[in-house]
């Protein structure tokens, strides 16, 4: 059976231990620390060949600046000292996770150097070790294979890209990561999300993983029949996984369509050469052209015979132009123009005609142009042309960066296989069978077991419990629901308030464990009423303290006397209405009362009070 799509994922989870190869804290910081600058250079392999991905990065000729904040980076991160032994706690955690995934663990773990020369690793390689293979994870009765579990170091954090200089901060470099790769066993975008969630709960159950945005990242490998393996690298929002997959399916099928069209037309590979048409466009009013020429730049152009309509079709389905532009951008330009989108961007119909005439183009022919500094515009246009030629073959294998809107952009070719060699500075680690037996008999609570226990211990329903565990709120839930009376509020908070706040655009990262715990303990001690909890959390997400939130929301809880005075005043203001409706006025007045009392006293208490005071009023 042919599946409409085949997907495998790699999940990268940061561990909450020391760094993998030194004793630095694993923590991201605001300080920049001292700086140093380096260049990386692709190394020559035995065969005199340099890896294609390494080459693509080298072509950008980037220089790197590194920020080395104190406490979270040392000589090891600066590539000025050899790595220390691998962190024992991190190794123990990855062995635990491997066991939970029923994977078979290496007898001896060997660290490797994986060449990466985008500057994100000061050494020019990432240290990584294969720890286990051949595991499984089950979702919805489906058995998804786990190909490998690796322990590796996280890369440095990119903080700025300016012109040709990239700045990285070393705080993230060396944080241990567990990498779990599934087999390409998934064919439904929603299943993929569930597998990711499931792996997330298993990882969290070790209690040794970091929480929060950026601490877990997914690489999604997607292919459709007739397409090719494309890797969307570093997706952070699990909720978007199905969208990334659907968009990639669409992108690949449109590329297959473009290939069919081009082949039908008998299109041939275009000549990868750029023609200088700066003179032709010297009086153009287009901002991009004017800006490039005024800075001494050039406009380069190239014909694309028989490509008309594939760069951007009228229905916007075919968008080879966008693909070409992404390749051009990876060479440092802002973009390219192509004939399917012109006249536009200040380039007039006359100018388009001039170019077509200059290049002697027919109706079915297209062209692309790029304006910038000559040493940038030319390689960029050539890269775009090379991408156009790949369209004749079909879908190119590549790595893409995920965007927050669920689409992705070209980042680089898929890395080749031969980019690893042994990390001779780190000793191999022998994994004794006795150690594995101890781990197996002390496994952390599995997600199912935890679901059942939460139902039993806290009296929440099973669906709530499953959702808490799946979305990773189980730990914090247990902490704030220590007082069992809080269980229902806590479950409601994490399962409905949080999604609502997120929808409103609140930054849930601001709601760290400590602040949330503070909010619940304030609630428990009667500082405000449970109705006010969502508003309090909204303030906390903006960065305010619990006290600050309570006072700015005017929530300071009031005593019975004060509440009575407020209610009585309200009844007196509406004396006619109350006299007319009698006890029937309780309902309509409840809303008015709550406007005054919300968050200051409990809702049920407010209703009782109102009823009592109306009774008293009517009696009087």
């Amino acid at each position: 059976m042919t599946h409409p799509v085949t997907v495998g994922i790699e999940i990268h989870q940061q561990l909450d231990t020391c760094k993998l190869f030194c004793s630095c804290r694993s923590q991201l910081v605001e300080e920049e620390g001292s700086q140093f600058r380096r260049r990386l250079r692709p190394t020559q392999s035995e065969m005199g060949e340099i890896d294609r991905a390494a080459l693509a990065q080298a072509e950008r000729r980037m220089h790197f600046t590194y920020q080395a904040p104190k406490g979270v980076s040392c000589l090891v991160e600066a590539d000025e000292e050899p790595p220390h032994d691998a962190d024992a706690e991190a190794m123990q955690t990855v062995l635990t996770v491997s066991t939970m995934l029923k994977a078979s663990i290496m007898d001896e773990v060997h660290f490797m150097r994986k060449i990466v020369i985008d500057g994100s690793n000061t050494s020019g390689f990432q240290r990584t070790a294969l720890v286990a293979v051949d595991g499984t994870v089950d979702i919805n009765g489906k058995n998804i294979g786990i190909l490998s579990v690796c322990l590796e170091e996280d890369a440095a954090r990119k903080v700025e890209t300016k012109d040709r200089e990239v700045t990285y901060r070393l705080d993230r470099l060396g944080i241990p990561l567990i990498e779990i790769a599934t087999a390409p066993d998934m064919h439904d975008p929603e299943d993929v999300k569930e597998v990711a969630q499931r792996l997330g709960s298993i990882l969290r159950s070790t209690r040794k993983v970091k929480r929060g945005l950026g601490t877990i990242r997914e690489d999604i490998n997607i292919s459709i029949p007739g397409g090719a393996r494309v890797e969307i690298k570093g997706a952070q929002d699990l909720g978007l996984i199905p969208t990334y997959i659907r968009n990639e399916m669409e992108r690949q099928s449109s590329l297959i369509e473009i290939k069919r069209m081009l082949n039908e037309r008998g299109a041939k590979p275009v000549t990868v050469a750029a023609r200088d048409i700066s003179d032709l466009l010297k009086s153009s009013k287009s901002k991009v052209i004017v800006s490039a020429l005024s800075k001494g730049g050039k406009v380069f152009c190239a014909p694309l015979p028989l490509f008309a309509g594939t760069m951007r079709s009228a229905d916007l389905r075919l968008r080879l132009g966008a693909e070409m532009a992404q390749h051009a951008r990876s060479r440092g330009v802002a973009g390219i123009f192509h004939s399917d989108e012109l006249p536009a961007y200040g380039i007039t119909a006359d100018e388009v005609q001039m170019i077509r005439k200059e290049l002697a183009l027919g109706d079915m022919d297209a062209f692309a142009l790029c304006a910038d500094q000559a040493d940038r515009a030319k390689p960029a246009l050539l890269a775009a042309l090379a991408r156009a030629n790949q369209a004749l073959v079909g879908v190119p294998e590549e790595t893409r960066d995920p965007l927050p809107d669920g689409t992705s952009v070209y980042s680089r070719p898929l890395p080749g296989a031969g980019r690893m060699y042994p990390e001779t500075d780190v000793r191999p680690i022998i994994i004794e069978p006795e150690r594995l037996m101890t781990i197996a008999s002390n496994l952390p609570e599995l997600p199912e077991a935890r679901t059942t226990r939460l139902v039993r211990e806290y009296g929440i329903n099973e669906q709530q419990s499953r959702q808490l565990v799946r979305e990773g709120y189980d730990d914090i839930f247990e902490e704030v629901a220590k007082d069992k009376g809080m269980a229902a509020v806590a479950a409601r908070t994490f399962l409905s308030t949080y999604p609502e706040l997120q929808k409103e655009g609140a930054d849930l990262d601001g709601l760290t464990g400590t602040t949330v715990k503070e909010a619940f303990s304030a609630l428990l001690s009667g500082k405000f009423a449970k109705e006010a909890l969502p508003s309090v959390l909204r303030e906390l997400a903006k960065g305010s303290s619990v006290e600050g939130a309570v006072s700015s929301l005017g929530l300071a809880a009031i005593d019975q006397g004060e509440a009575e005075r407020i209610v009585d005043a309200m009844i007196h203001e509406r004396a006619d209405f109350v006299n007319e409706k009698g006890m029937g006025s309780v309902g309509p007045l409840m809303g008015v009362a709550m406007k005054e009392l919300r968050g200051k006293i409990d809702g049920k208490e407010a209703a009782d009070l109102l009823k009592r005071r109306i009774e008293a009023f009517l009696k009087a």
Partner: protein
Amino acid sequence: MSYSERARQLLASSQAREGDTVRLKVRGKEHEGILMPHHEFSHPDVIVIKLKSGYNMGLKVDEGSELTLESRAQERTKKAKDAVNGNDLPTVSFLGTGGTIASYVDYRTGAVHPALKAEELVATVPELSEICRMRSHVVFSIFSENMTPQNWQTLASAVADELNDGAEGVIVPHGTDTLGFTSAALSFMLGDVPRSVLLVGAQRSSDRPSSDSYINLLSSARFCVNANAAEVFALMHGESSDSYVHIHRGTKVRKMHTSRRDAFQSVNCAPVARLGMQGELEILSECKPKSRTKVVPDTRMEKDVALLYFYPGMSTEIVKKVMEDHKGLIMAGTGLGHVSRDMVHVLKDVISEGKPVVMTSQCLGGRVNLNVYDTGRDLLSAGVIPGEDMLPETALIKLMWVLGRTQDMPEVEKEMLTDRRAEISRRRDL
């Protein structure tokens, strides 16, 4: 650790060699990959194979394990690139000593091979051929910690031959551990050189993209060609950043850090020059200009000279024992150049047997002065030669070289106190 008998037999019976593709069956599971070399710290029963994914996997073999040879490693034919050399460029000689300052990585097996021939150097650092014509010659191939005075002699003769043959400069890629010793030895043995001799190393091996070797090598060639300087120098990174290199005097340079790129520093003087990444040259202290004279090396050395590091409570027996079969002694004393009172007496005895003792300081920075304290004065009275601001290692090499030419005590003392190769500076700015 090497392989256990079981692993060895399994390998022997399969006839598999490192680099071959094998199939290894362990506890019912089969794995295919390339057979890798045994790691020194691996378990004796562990066989390491490299999977298609590139990862290495260590598998412990037992009685039931099977190893079969799938296919032999393919002989790789190296594309020999020509050392493209512009005819009008000056010739620079590269003399290999065994450091892997330039190397190839075999990603299949992880093996790192040094680039020793000129054409291999061009392949790893192609930019070299835009600076100079290259001539290369492997003098020996050893780890720098295994160097001996004999190696220095061989190297000095080889360098002299290259210079006398008209080379515009000689570059000696060298392991960093003892680079400072070799640069001092060459400084004394070669005497006045007509063009520069540069020892160059790398603190990060050249198989890494972050290696400092490429910039250091390139800068060496630039310095040889563009700087009007003719001495023995060491060239290494000037700071942690890839921003500039420092050129140090061969007698004044010392490795001051185990691992940093800027480990090498000039002690008791400023570096001779600084060279930026694009070749911007800044001369920081005067040096001898180039000439067309010939080198007349004097490589005679007395190898039986010891260097001892004094510490509180150090047994005098150590010195007595050592001096039974050594002909000269360098002491690295404390502070201004001191040792314990007992030790002063022993040193006096050593000197009275006609064996010179030179005092240097373990402070490294600064000059010894034996006039300030009683102990110092006693040392002077005992006949100890104050080593001025020489590095202990430089003093060692110098005494070897001096004793190679004379045993006459007053002559030795005079020589040790005379500045020959900028090893002694007379004044030092604040």
